[in-house]
Symmetry: D2
Subunit: 135 residues, 4 copies
């Protein structure tokens, strides 16, 4: 199974008064993960929007296994396991500095024609880079 | 089925350059929903923490049905359908001003003894207010 | 001196691991303050954008006097002391539940014609509601 | 004049429905700038907290010169111009990818003994690394 990894540093403003990263920020980490994955595949999300296709989020899910704390360097592992159809599903695992898995999650996005605001096929370029992707 | 409702106003800083509320903020709206529900039940989360019990998040999930935009007044409907055990599951629906449902979701929290950092039983007060709750 | 007051509840996700509200959120509280002030004056910011005028931020400043903690009900006091010219300056004080002032600050915004992207005069309606405003 | 530079990528969730980075996020970028500066000086903020000294924010200010947009790679330039006393003042400039300055700002922090909650002298280590700092 291919996967992409990116590292992010936990910021002070992402922690809460329980002393750990607030759970809502994992959803943002997921976004950072797929953004860097798409960039490394040669098809950054900004290029996607230039093709006239928007990708609204249709589902997020996250299971929290272990807390993350201030200044930790986390590894976000992003992968695509299912074929891309009218939607694309990114799957996630996040690991802390000592290699412990802290969460698992998934995000699904649809493809929308920015002009008509209606569902559309995924751009061919996306299908190509993902299928050929050694990420 | 009992449920609790609270209203929140979409803030400018919660929107993104797609012109709609960023999907990560729904997870924060859910937190606002259960916070106000617990307060209205007479057992605010701050009182919970005073009993020495912390409630870390163990799961979040959200299906996005329709976008929300700046300055909309949203209704967060929060309910508890399953019995409270070692975890509590809050279920959510959010509606926009015209009554259209924009998402469905759920959040699960565990009960942790703040001193031992180990799982513990939910406070009796919580069980009482939830079971008797006409929220 | 006229001023407008609005109340906001400190959210869990706004606190940080020092146990208090993260300082960046005060800038967001200021936005909530002027949004509600404009709404109460009968000229909500969403109506402003409909006139074709955007109001980008040109300056923010905040002095932090005392920390705010989770679940506190804060009072944001917003006022306009200086005449509106090519820019509008909102001045702020925030108070906690016990009436203690926790910060002072200011935000300045310009007026930009959304079409030409160039500075423009403030909408007449804005000048009227602010000058006549008993807020 | 010595200064430190760090690069940050604008995230989707940091933009707003005006299509640019929300102004509150610059305050967070400033925090990221001084965090990386302190780390590169060999005295990360997490080490600071281990010495029993907390550094609450006492002032932030920012002048916004030019908007930043999604996915831009920004350069945060952080420097200390004034001697460190009971407070430390970090000064900032942020530049976009084409080298255009998009803002100027400053953040001041105090030194507080975490145990007594009273103002204290800055740690000697901090004074040394900053004065000798070729950052």
């Amino acid at each position: 199974m291919n996967y992409h990894e990116t590292k992010i540093r936990v910021q002070y403003f992402e922690t809460d008064c329980m002393g750990v990263v607030h759970h809502s920020n994992y959803i943002r980490y997921f976004e950072m993960g797929r953004t860097e994955m798409m960039r490394d595949l040669g098809f950054p999300y900004s290029a996607m929007e230039n093709t006239g296709v928007k990708m609204p989020i249709i589902l997020t899910e996250c299971r929290y296994l272990f807390p993350a704390t201030y200044d930790e360097l986390l590894t976000i592992r992003t992968t695509i396991k299912e074929p891309i159809s009218a939607r694309i599903r990114f799957e996630y695992e996040i690991y802390n500095e000592s290699g412990k898995q802290i969460c698992t999650g998934a995000v699904e996005l649809a493809f929308i024609n920015a002009e008509t605001q209606r569902p559309c096929r995924p751009p061919e370029t996306l299908l190509k880079v993902v299928s050929s992707g050694t990420f």
